[in-house]
């Protein structure tokens, strides 16, 4: 158990992400890779990524108001969060998730 993290971001709470991709589009592939990398690094204990291909489930994208791809939704823990883009801007992603910035060497 890591006491260094604030209570709300404890790995034990379980981090669930939903990633909306457009088939194998370059930005979508990159987003998936980036999200995996971030999760492995920051939530190694407990994370889950659900990938939804809007090309296969278009009505779901519409119902869930997904306008652009890729879109990452943090389902839990609350508060929910929506990040658009291929997540290449790591600094922005970490800030949004309330994670400490990675020191650039």
């Amino acid at each position: 158990m890591s006491e260094d993290f604030p209570a709300g971001e404890r790995a034990s709470a379980g981090y669930v992400f939903r990633l909306y991709v457009a088939g194998g589009a370059p930005n979508s592939v990159r987003a998936l890779a980036n999200l995996y990398a971030i999760c492995r690094k920051h939530y190694p204990e407990s994370h889950r990524i659900e990938v939804i291909d809007v090309l296969k489930e278009p009505m779901r994208a519409l119902a869930e108001a997904i306008l652009v791809t890729p879109t990452t939704v943090k389902v839990s823990p609350a508060p929910g969060l929506q990040i658009i883009g291929n997540l290449s801007d790591e600094e922005e992603v970490l800030r949004a998730l309330g994670l400490p910035q990675t020191k650039n060497g």
């Binding site: 519409l62 890729p70 879109t71 658009i84």
Partner: protein
């Protein structure tokens, strides 16, 4: 009528907006991209919505409305205020999607619109949609924050529309006056097959809306800016390039409502012509207009009385004191009274309103009192064009119209400087005051009455609770207006 027209070599969909199909030579390009551009509040959303609603309601063509800026429910509710059957249409024919990006969304890296387009494609397929509106596409594009990406995504939409054989209407904020936005989105009209610029200007404190077809690939279109308005039933475009066939002339004569005046005119007015009554304030123009209208109502003809800056009930009451009772005709609906505040809108908007009222009432006789009120806002040239169009509108519909015009001075020639309508009027009745031996006397004369042997005399016009009378000309000497004088002398004596 089918929703699809072939004009200028390309397939089009009629917009259902009056006048808009004129300036676009039949409507918007089918299965292509149309761009509606303009500053905020200039009516882009309503124009787009009306086209979509019209396609669905008139032609049964399903459509999708994608709202990037406004709440989609509010857009649909707005349509309801124009009397469009939104709820009914939404059951089968129309689909609204709220595509506003959450305000707390975080942008981290590149993205594109594939997600939205995939969803829309499935939806369009499911409901058989043929028309799709992307309202405020600039809001979506601005998220990209990169001109190259914006251009790329716009082309993605464009390609997607063509691939799915959808007629797309994209609205975007582009302000003619803002060089920055014009430069940034300057590529947009190049991509689109048809581009329409909407503007809103303030002239004499009155907002005037106008639109112009900037381009239309492979089709002729009107080049000029045309006025438009958003009325109670939606958008109306004041297109002036409608060429109408010359109407058949009528040989039938109808009464002016005053027997003696008919005699002076050489037998009343010809049906389907127009008559101008000029005179200064209080000379009796409105009263003669009332007499004309009453006579039409008594013939059981549908009539319309358009008054500027005077309440309908006041007019009915005032005419009543002159023995002209319009109340029963007003109550039965045979007569429609339309009171217009001249300063509330531009002359163009007045024109469109009058045109709509004429279409609704389908009158055979119309009085406009005074037509000169048109010139009060927005300047003379515009008002003159409007007055002319109004006269031609009535002439083409076979409507007999009597309009009054206020003379500010005593010189009847001044009239020609305000609206220039005397040259196109078929009859011209001049009312004036004569000051004789300290008495103010109303006088009437006929300046012209086309196709008639009309009187050249100046005669006295008398109003009383019994009605209007015109005296026989007094033949002795130069004094023709004696009746009132006699009476006054009798009373005094």
């Amino acid at each position: 009528m089918s929703g699809k027209n072939r004009a200028g070599g390309r397939e089009k969909i009629a917009t259902g907006i009056e006048g808009f199909d004129d300036i676009t030579a039949g409507g918007l390009p089918s299965r292509c991209t149309t761009l509606l551009m303009g500053g905020p509040g200039c009516g882009k959303t309503i124009v787009a919505l009306q086209i979509l609603v019209s396609a669905a309601a008139e032609h049964g063509t399903p459509g999708i409305f994608v709202a990037f800026e406004e709440n989609a429910r509010r857009v649909a509710a707005n349509g309801q205020t124009f009397g469009w059957k939104m709820a009914e249409l939404e059951e089968k024919k129309l689909f609204f999607i709220d595509a506003r990006m959450r305000s707390d969304v975080v942008t981290a890296g590149a993205f594109d619109l594939s997600g939205l387009l995939a969803g829309l494609e499935a939806k369009a397929h499911e409901m058989g949609a043929k028309v799709i509106v992307f309202d405020a596409v600039d809001v979506l594009l601005s998220l990209l924050d990169d001109p190259a990406a914006e251009c790329r995504e716009l082309y993605r939409i464009h390609e997607w529309l063509m691939l799915n054989e959808l007629t797309g209407i994209l609205t975007t904020k582009i302000d003619d006056d803002h060089a920055a936005t014009a430069q940034r989105y300057g590529f947009m009209p190049f991509m689109a097959d048809c581009a329409v610029m909407l503007t809103q200007r303030v002239t004499d404190r009155v907002a005037v809306r106008a639109m112009r077809v900037v381009k239309y690939r492979g089709s002729p279109h009107g080049l000029n800016e045309v006025p438009f308005m958003i009325g109670p039933k939606g958008v109306e475009v004041g297109s002036s390039n409608g060429v109408h066939p010359e109407p058949q002339p009528f040989n039938e004569r109808i009464t002016s409502g005053v027997e003696r005046l008919d005699e002076m005119l050489g037998g009343g007015f010809y049906r389907g012509t127009n008559a101008l009554i000029t005179g200064s304030s209080g000379s009796g123009k409105s009263t003669l207009a009332g007499a004309f209208i009453r006579a039409a109502c008594e013939r059981e003809e549908r009539t319309l009385f358009i008054s500027f800056d005077e309440n309908s009930r006041d007019i009915v009451r005032d005419l009543g004191t002159m023995g002209i009772d319009l109340a029963p005709h007003f109550a039965s609906g045979l007569l429609r009274m339309e009171a217009i505040r001249s300063e509330a809108a531009s002359s163009e908007e007045h024109f469109m309103r009058i045109k709509r009222v004429i279409a609704e009432q389908a009158p055979r006789c119309v009085a406009i009192d005074p037509l000169s009120a048109l010139a009060r806002v927005g300047g003379g040239i515009a008002a003159r064009a409007v007055a002319e169009r109004l006269i031609y509108l009535c002439r083409n519909a076979g409507i007999t119209v009597l309009f009054t015009s206020l003379l500010e001075g005593s010189d009847p020639q001044l009239e020609t400087t305000t609206l220039h309508v005397s040259t196109i009027s078929d009859s011209w009745i001049q009312l004036s005051y004569a000051l004789i031996d300290g008495a103010r006397i109303r006088a009437v004369s006929i300046v012209k009455s086309r196709g008639s042997n009309h009187s050249n005399q100046l005669r006295e016009l008398i109003f009383s609770e019994k009605g209007i009378s015109i005296t026989e000309p007094y033949k002795a000497g130069g004094e023709v207006l004696r009746e009132t004088l006699h009476k006054q002398q009798e009373k005094a004596g």
